[in-house]
């Protein structure tokens, strides 16, 4: 319930830290914004803290459920950067509160038309795009891959709707790589369910919970040791959110983590040269939002008058525990690849601005944010921007719009290239 988060709204001390990276990480004036929403729209309400205030005003009945309220709440990719910056100095759960606000609005029926479409597609077709579910298997048509609906394997490769339906090369390359490394894996093909990440972000809690329970049960029944996915969104759902409603009987890895492991234990040998200067874009769902939850039980008490002390200390997810090094280590392992970093990276990376339902409902704004990120990538002198999320990759490519000065690659395509050249 939104009321459960009222304390965080009241704790906002209006410092505007949510608008910038943690200040120690501000490296230039040019790239010193961290929130695409406030950067674009400028009114304070568009910042993380601003939305906390708006939620508070809504709870207190100062403002009603208006079109502009809904517009404001959803004109945000829910990237969590504000949460990281705020928690650098506090324990305020900005992200969770903003999510609870979306859940509240959704349950009151305030859903943007494009988001309603996504929810219905998810429910009806098992993907947010509204494609028939058979299409999800199309990418694997000519590949010999175990079908875990019928066979057994150690690893389930969970492709994700976006890779399967919009960026099939990601899936194809991943399969190539896993085979080269001798991994015993399989897929679910057209039976692969939607992880419901977008539904979750929109605030459709009922849809999320239903998918979470069902998907976990499905994968548990497969008796795999590991679920690996090349989609940051799917990773986050399985790793971070599903455990809040169901018990997972398998390990969850992102492909970058598995690749790092395979390279380290020499199962995957990358010998082919890929001469390319690249910079790496941290997907929010893999990075700061991919930091796992740590269950806590303890007591909360007040000491010294008003200090709230939790015993044992309640873990606070500040974003530092996301997946940052594995993709970088993989890149550094590819002969010929030179990695240069952008200014805003890791837990304080700038979002590509596609997530949270923004790409569907506010496509211009999604591109605006992506263009900002592209400028940052260009400023490093890199020839390409590499990422680990097909949705990021799509939005960054859309922003480039044919501008050949910068290429966009998924990590898997560079690894696959190295294998190809190596052969």
């Amino acid at each position: 319930m939104l009321e459960d988060y009222e304390r965080y709204m009241e704790m906002c001390f209006r410092c505007s830290l949510c608008k910038w990276p943690p200040l120690a990480q501000v490296k230039s004036w040019r790239f010193s914004n961290i929130c695409p929403s406030i950067q674009r729209y400028n009114f304070h309400a568009y910042s993380g803290g601003g939305r906390l205030i708006v939620a508070y005003a809504y709870l207190q009945g100062r403002i009603g459920l208006t079109k502009s309220l809904v517009d404001l709440v959803y004109r945000c990719s829910m990237c969590g950067a504000c949460d990281v910056s705020c928690k650098h100095n506090s324990d305020i759960e900005v992200y969770e509160t903003l999510h609870a606000f979306r859940v509240q609005l959704y349950e009151e029926g305030a859903v943007l038309p494009k988001h309603r479409e996504i929810i219905e597609n998810t429910l009806r077709h098992g993907n947010p795009y509204g494609e028939v579910k058979e299409k999800k298997a199309a990418w694997a048509k000519n590949l010999k891959v175990k079908d875990l609906n019928k066979e057994k394997a150690d690893v389930l490769y969970f492709v994700g709707c976006t890779a399967a339906l919009r960026r099939p090369e990601v899936a194809v390359n991943t399969v190539k790589i896993l085979k080269a490394a001798g991994v015993d894996f399989g897929i679910l093909g057209s039976e692969e369910p939607c992880c419901a990440s977008t539904a979750y972000k929109i605030g459709a809690r009922d849809v999320f919970e239903k998918h979470a329970r069902r998907n976990v049960e499905l994968v548990n029944k497969l008796n795999v040791e590991t679920l690996v996915t090349s989609c940051a969104g799917c990773y986050r759902m399985f790793k971070v959110e599903y455990p809040t409603v169901a018990e997972l009987g398998f390990e969850v890895l992102h492909t970058s983590q598995l690749l790092e492991k395979l390279i380290r234990d020499s199962s995957l040998k990358l010998t082919g040269k890929v001469p390319l200067k690249v910079t790496y874009h941290d997907p929010c769902h893999l990075g700061r939002l991919g930091e796992p939850r740590t269950p806590w039980s303890g007591v909360e008490k007040k000491v010294l008058g008003h200090l709230i002390l939790t015993d044992p200390p309640k873990p606070v997810r500040r974003g530092g525990g996301g997946v940052y090094d594995p993709p970088r280590n993989v890149l550094k392992s590819i002969p010929g690849v030179e990695l240069v970093e952008m200014e805003r990276i890791r837990e304080y990376a700038y979002c590509c601005n596609a997530g949270g339902g923004v790409k569907a409902a506010f496509p211009d704004f999604a591109l605006w944010g992506a263009r900002e990120r592209v400028e940052e990538a260009k400023s490093t002198g890199a020839q390409a921007i590499v990422t680990c999320c097909p949705f990021c990759e799509i939005n960054l490519s859309d922003a480039l719009n044919g501008d050949g000065s910068l290429k966009v690659y998924d990590l898997t395509s560079l690894v696959a290239k190295s294998l190809e050249v190596g052969e």
């Binding site: 205030i53 008058g305 200090l307 974003g319 837990e347």
Partner: protein, 522 residues
């Protein structure tokens, strides 16, 4: 509500998407830090009538002229942190200067920068460092607005030992007066440049601000020049690790010390000697409570540390950072050691630890987690006393503040921070100094808020009775304060009122945290 015609005219000036009277937008400006210390304890100030986002001085001027035409009150706002940033009454248009965020220039040779209102200290510092320069940063932290601090607010910070105070760092200023005219102070007025804010003849900087600024009560400042200082470190400081404890390697030509002393007297004497010897580029006294909170990973860790008494011997401390050429640092370090010997001080073992060294260096130079030690504990804090005067006077104020605060802690109103939570340091190599008494309270607890309010009132009375000067509690109290202080201070309020009336004859610039042009308007 403002007249529809006025709204449309403003839209013409700034563009439709840069003005709003939607309550959803307006309420994000009504909620303010410290608003809960008003009667009733709500976090809400009056709602602005509209919020406007001008993008240039010309747009600011045009909007102010529209306000003049329609007799609409307005208030300037940039990073907007604190109750004084909000509007104080109904019917006021808020000018959010966020779109005016450029560093106009950095003059490397003459060591100053020209900035627009929404440039933060963090942004200015990082660009200045590339040129071997840095800026004074205020205690609120590097997320605050440079221009707002220099022109409109206060200006204390722990770089004051070498980099002065915001009110003394400002050079020329571009100022849209409440009437809509543009006043350019000092050398800017005749087109000579930004290098001097005073003259010709008497300085109008005197009307712009005093010990504190007018907090939005006298027009809109659209650009200012601010002094920069030598930065003897690398062009950029790479902060490694993960939040919340980023680390920076302390460069070879810097040293971080945390000297501790047996008592207030030796602490004060040492600071005087440090000032006279002209050593140090950062110097700050933080109470052990503050240091402990800032460096502990959790409240539980802090509480264990606090209860263990390990911080007790760190009470009379200051952090000092030395930096410069190799020769200079060697000399300064030798002098510091001699001062410690002379005053019975020693470097606290806490400071010898590499982790602490890196944390303190990062914190002291970049002022990047100032909020942590004060907001995380109980949810909120405020400050009191802390007038700018001799260092001895500041130390005396700290003792008085501690005694006063203990009464409210014992009554359960304020968080028990040990009583002594004095923060501050010496400025301009010890020619003056300040120590403000921080206090913590729970913004969600009505009794705590009431207690905090009573404590602030007690501070006003104490400052008067104990001859401590005009203190920081006055900022929150707003315009009414002057009727209390003024008669005791050469009736300065009478003259301030006349200045307000002369420059803002229609009283359109929200005077809620400045002064009204007449007693009736108050």
């Amino acid at each position: 509500m403002i007249p529809k015609l006025a709204y449309r005219m403003i839209e013409e000036v700034v563009g439709e998407e840069n003005v709003s009277d939607d309550p959803v937008i307006l309420d994000s400006y009504s909620f303010q830090y410290l608003a809960e210390l008003q009667e009733g304890g709500a976090k809400w100030l009056p709602r602005p009538a509209a919020v406007v986002l001008p993008g240039s001085t010309e747009e600011v001027q045009a909007v102010v002229k529209i306000c003049n035409r329609f007799n609409i009150k307005f208030k300037a706002h940039s990073t907007g942190w604190g109750v004084w940033s909000g509007v104080g009454r109904e019917g006021v248009i808020l000018l959010d200067l966020r779109r005016m965020n450029r560093i106009v220039m950095i003059d490397e040779d003459n060591m100053y920068a020209v900035v627009e209102p929404y440039v933060t200290f963090a942004q200015l510092q990082v660009e200045a460092m590339k040129k071997g320069l840095t800026c004074h940063i205020i205690g609120a932290g590097a997320n605050a607005s440079v221009l707002a601090s220099c022109t409109s607010m206060c200006g204390y910070g722990w770089t004051g030992i070498k980099m002065s105070h915001s009110g003394r760092n400002v050079l020329a200023v571009e100022w849209v007066l409440p009437t809509g005219e543009i006043l350019r102070l000092g050398s800017l007025g005749c087109g000579s440049g930004w290098f001097c804010g005073d003259g010709p003849g008497p300085s109008l900087r005197g009307a712009m601000r005093g010990w504190a600024g007018t907090l939005g009560g006298l027009g809109v400042f659209t650009k200012c020049a601010v002094k920069l200082y030598e930065w003897p470190g690398p062009p950029s400081l790479e902060a490694k690790g993960a939040t919340p404890f980023y680390e920076v390697e302390v460069p070879e030509n810097f040293r971080v010390y945390v000297p501790v002393f047996p008592d207030w007297k030796s602490f004060a004497d040492a600071a005087y000697m440090v000032g006279e010897a002209e050593i140090g580029m950062v110097m700050c006294r933080n109470a052990p409570f503050l240091i402990g909170m800032a460096l502990s990973p959790s409240v539980k860790d802090f509480y264990s540390l606090w209860e263990s008494g390990a911080l007790k011997d760190a009470r009379f401390n200051f952090v000092i950072v030395l930096g410069g050429s190799k020769r200079q640092v060697e000399y300064e370090e030798k002098v510091l050691r001699a001062i410690l010997e002379k005053t019975g001080g020693r470097n606290h073992p806490l400071a010898e630890d590499e982790f602490t060294q890196r944390q303190l260096f990062l914190a002291m130079i970049k002022c990047c987690y100032n909020a942590r030690g004060v907001f995380k504990a109980s949810g909120s804090f405020h400050t009191s006393l802390g007038s700018l005067e001799s260092w001895d006077s500041a130390v005396r104020g700290a003792k008085i503040g501690e005694a006063l605060k203990k009464r409210f802690i014992e009554a359960g109103a304020l968080t028990d921070d040990g009583g002594d939570n004095a923060w501050g340091g010496i400025y301009e190599h010890g020619y003056f100094g300040h120590l403000e008494e921080l206090f913590l309270y729970d913004p969600r607890d009505p009794a705590s808020k009431d207690g905090a309010r009573e404590y602030l009132q007690a501070c006003v009375n104490t400052a008067i009775e104990e001859r401590l000067g005009f203190g920081l509690e006055a900022l929150t109290e707003g315009a009414e304060t002057h009727d209390m202080y003024g008669p005791l201070m050469c009736n300065y309020h009478k003259w301030m009122r006349k200045i307000k009336a002369a420059l803002d004859p229609k009283n359109l610039s929200d005077h809620s945290f400045y002064i009204s042009p007449s007693e009736e308007d108050q």
